[in-house]
């Protein structure tokens, strides 16, 4: 090819017009057939443009449009994702705050429950102590009464025995006389 161009350039330097014609002729361009070739080329170009290039361009434009649409959608999706992420973060923060609040309330409630249980246990212990003291006091009084009753019974029994052994008939007669007088009153 390089040699062909060098040869054409050498011949052109000798006769430029003839060289150009010859050069075109070597490439198949004939001045007698140039117009039909141009027409043919134009027809070919039109047909190619009409049935090949334009549909291809349309498809390319459609594809470009789809790509742009996809990019736009992707961008919108990314934006929505960012918004969703932001909303999720906000919700997460709110949930975290709510959880912290609930936890604080639960701790406070637990503290109140513990305090109430402590108070109740203290009251129950006091009640048990009071009942125990009352039972002890009751037992003490009962035992004192029993001892007092037993002692009184022993004293009375002993007194009765002593009286029965020491009283003679004369004394009993005087006592009977006193009882008759008491009955008459």
């Amino acid at each position: 090819m390089t040699q062909l161009f060098l040869l054409a350039a050498a011949e052109q330097s000798a006769n430029p017009a003839a060289g150009i014609v010859e050069l075109f002729g070597r490439f198949g361009v004939d001045r007698h057939h140039l117009i039909p070739q141009l027409v043919n080329f134009a027809l070919l170009a039109f047909v190619l443009y009409r049935f090949a290039i334009r549909p291809a361009l349309g498809q390319m434009e459609e594809r470009n449009r789809l790509i742009a649409q996809g990019l736009a959608d992707a961008k919108a999706a990314e934006q929505r994702l960012a918004e969703a992420q932001k909303a999720a973060d906000a919700k997460l923060n709110a949930a975290s705050d709510e959880a912290a609040r609930v936890l604080a309330e639960a701790r406070a409630s637990a503290a109140r429950t513990v305090e109430a249980a402590k108070s109740e246990a203290a009251a129950a212990a006091a009640e048990v102590l009071r009942k125990g003291q009352a039972a002890l006091e009751s037992d003490r009084v009962r035992m004192l009464n029993e001892v007092r009753g037993e002692l009184a019974r022993l004293v009375v029994d002993a007194s009765g025995k002593v009286l029965g052994q020491t009283l003679d008939d004369a004394q009993r007669a005087r006592l009977n006389e006193a009882a008759v007088k008491e009955l008459a009153r």
């Binding site: 009464n145 007092r148 009753g149 002692l151 009184a152 019974r153 004293v155 009375v156 007194s159 009765g160 009286l163 029965g164 009283l167 008939d169 004394q171 009993r172 007669a173 006592l175 009977n176 006389e177 009882a179 008759v180 008491e182 009955l183 008459a184």
Partner: protein, 131 residues
């Protein structure tokens, strides 16, 4: 039948009293009249009720005196007189010695008991000390 027997026994008891006290003669007359008027098997419930009524009436008219130590007949008569006045009917004394009473006496007239014994006073003292 038992109800009517009691009612008839009560009526017969009223016929057996003389001066407010059971009279043996009247009791004998009542029994003679009963045995002559009815067969013995028909009289059994009535006679039981009559016997119970007579016993109750005798108990109402008797002051059973339990006493510790000697109790003279005058003292027993004084006791009976007291209950005769109090109850408005004649009461006779029936004394029995019981030295477990220590001193004094206990009188039972019917269902009423009057205890003036030292044992009763000691028992009351023991109860008051135990209370």
């Amino acid at each position: 039948m038992p109800v009517s027997a009691r009612a008839e026994a009560k009526r017969l008891l009223a016929l057996s009293l003389e001066g407010g006290a059971v009279s043996p003669e009247r009791v004998g007359a009542v029994l003679s009249a009963l045995t002559s008027s009815r067969p013995a098997h028909a009289l059994r419930p009535l006679l039981r009720s009559y016997l119970a009524a007579v016993r109750r009436e005798l108990a109402r008219g008797e002051a059973r005196i339990e006493h510790a130590g000697p109790l003279s007949s005058e003292q027993a008569a004084a006791v009976a007189a007291h209950f005769s006045r109090a109850l408005g009917r004649p009461v006779r004394a029936a004394a029995r010695r019981n030295d477990a009473l220590i001193a004094g006496f206990r009188v039972r007239v019917g269902d009423d008991v009057t205890d003036l014994s030292a044992a009763a006073r000691l028992d009351a003292l023991a109860r008051s000390l135990s209370a």
